[in-house]
Amino acid sequence: MIEAFVPEELVSRLLAGRQNKAVFIAAGLGLIFPVCECAIVPVVRRLLHKGVPLSAAIAFLLGGPIVNPIVAGSTWLAYRSDWSFLGVRMICGYTIAVAVAFMMNFLFRKGTILLDEASSGSSSACDCDAHEHDVSGNGKMSRCFAAFQHACDDFFDVGRFLVIGAFIAALARTTIGVDALRDLFASPWLAIIMMMGLAIALNLCSETDAFIAAGFRGVLPDTAQMAFMVLGPMLDMKLLLMYLTMFRKRVIVVLAFLTFIAVLLSMIFLQYGLGGLPGGR
């Protein structure tokens, strides 16, 4: 729909001279367009090719799967109306998305971050040549038709990585004993790191991961559960594979590293600086 209905000129006009402001808006855009981390990758691909600044796209990519009403609802239910978990998850998700987006913007320029076929002058995000890309002058029906053609291409381009990621997730779910790991979490910082590792390995959907994290309530520090819920939607095995359809490999490495460190430092600060989640029961 973005490819077929949103003119590049409109995006350019809206964002002209407002790059920093766009980052702050994009990180919270999930409130209006609630999508989980799997669905957000093709959306971000399209946005990038419509001229959305790199920093804003990264902010939406990282913040969108957390700062959205569905995730907020599932977190609220899983933690039985505990507002501290909901609030901290939303705030951390938003803040980390903004911070990493600015850092990525500082380190890279758009031309060096995207794959060649993705960063070409074409208005399309695909390299297929299998359908008509310029539909700006056509009628609504033609645009709808073009939207489905683009969506179909995304289904095939991103879907293969989603399938591989789902396979890894299934493997992890049946081989990693979550309960058995509890005895290893001797100290809060170790628990935080282990839960971050678990988030990457389990590849859970951001809309349901709170129910898994809540299972550790009373067993692990709140900050370790929060680390699981904040990092998972931003970085896991399946997402890393899906990023391959969009970013260069070194960019993925830097993005993963920055995200991991940002989440780790945030949780360490919450645990040792504030003594746990603010307002936690």
Binding site: A130, F156, T174, I176
Partner: protein, 257 residues
């Protein structure tokens, strides 16, 4: 030129086959296998509309592939075959998935939840059991509690059943690693919040002198009296069983909180 046209056709034919296979897969999910909709094995049955929307979108994909400009080319060669192969791979799992269930060993990898006393009243309210709870949180005994409560009800709101005789059903499980008390097994069902990936075992402890004689993973009916005990420093629900008998699995084996 002709060769190029053949490649184009091959690309479109392969895409069409994959999309058609996915449409057939989604359609198959709506079918009943041995009395239960297959959909329920993967997703909450009340999320059927998601599969419906997915099917409709795939039909539009199929039409869009069919109407493509034949003069354009798509992905080719090994890359094309690998892409299509990966996309078709999950569908090959369907025949196995239709008849299989998670083994006790796979269940063990998921986090067990043992019902606790007076903990989850908010969940209870979501499942239509709020009539027994006042605004102040003070419990008023229901005049008539079901004698055969579902395991979900016992898990979410066990307090009203304290001291009562009940009959419920679930899967029997015991293991040294669980460190259960002597002569006790865990009677559980998988609770599904969204899809099978997030399902986790939820249940109650059952004190039964022949616990070790039960086969792990078998469905059982438990008749006994509800009480509470301390397990891993928490006050959890326990049924002191008078009778435990094997039973057939229910139509939908999942608990749906």
């Amino acid at each position: 030129m002709d060769g190029n046209r053949n490649k184009i056709s091959f690309y479109r034919v392969l895409q069409s086959i994959v999309v058609l296979a996915w449409i057939a897969f989604f359609w198959f999910l709506f079918q009943r296998i041995w009395g239960a909709p297959l959909l329920g094995k993967f997703l909450r049955p009340d999320y059927w509309w998601l599969v419906g929307i997915g099917t409709a979108i795939l039909v539009f994909f199929l039409i869009s592939i069919d109407c493509r400009d034949p003069g354009n080319r798509g992905r080719r060669g090994v890359s094309l075959l690998v892409q299509m192969g990966i996309m078709i791979l999950p569908l090959l799992y369907l025949p196995t998935a239709a008849v299989s269930q998670l083994s006790p060993e796979a269940i063990k990898k998921r986090s067990f939840y043992v019902a606790q006393a007076g903990q989850i009243n908010n969940d209870a309210s979501r499942t239509g059991m709020s009539e027994s709870i006042t605004i102040e949180g003070k419990r008023e005994r229901e005049p008539k509690l079901p004698e055969n409560p579902s395991l979900l009800r016992l898990v979410l709101d066990p307090d009203p059943y304290e001291g009562r005789r009940v009959t419920t059903m679930g899967i029997a499980y015991w293991d040294k690693e669980l460190k259960l008390p002597e002569n006790t097994f865990f009677c559980y069902q998988l609770a599904m919040y969204c899809c099978a990936a997030d399902a986790r075992p939820m249940g109650v402890l059952v004190e039964y002198d022949k616990s070790k004689a039960l086969k792990k993973g078998d469905w059982v009916t438990v008749e006994g009296t509800v009480g509470f005990t301390t397990f891993e420093d928490q006050r959890v629900t326990k049924i002191t069983a008078e009778k435990v008998s094997p039973t057939e699995p229910p139509e939908n084996p999942y608990l749906l909180p």
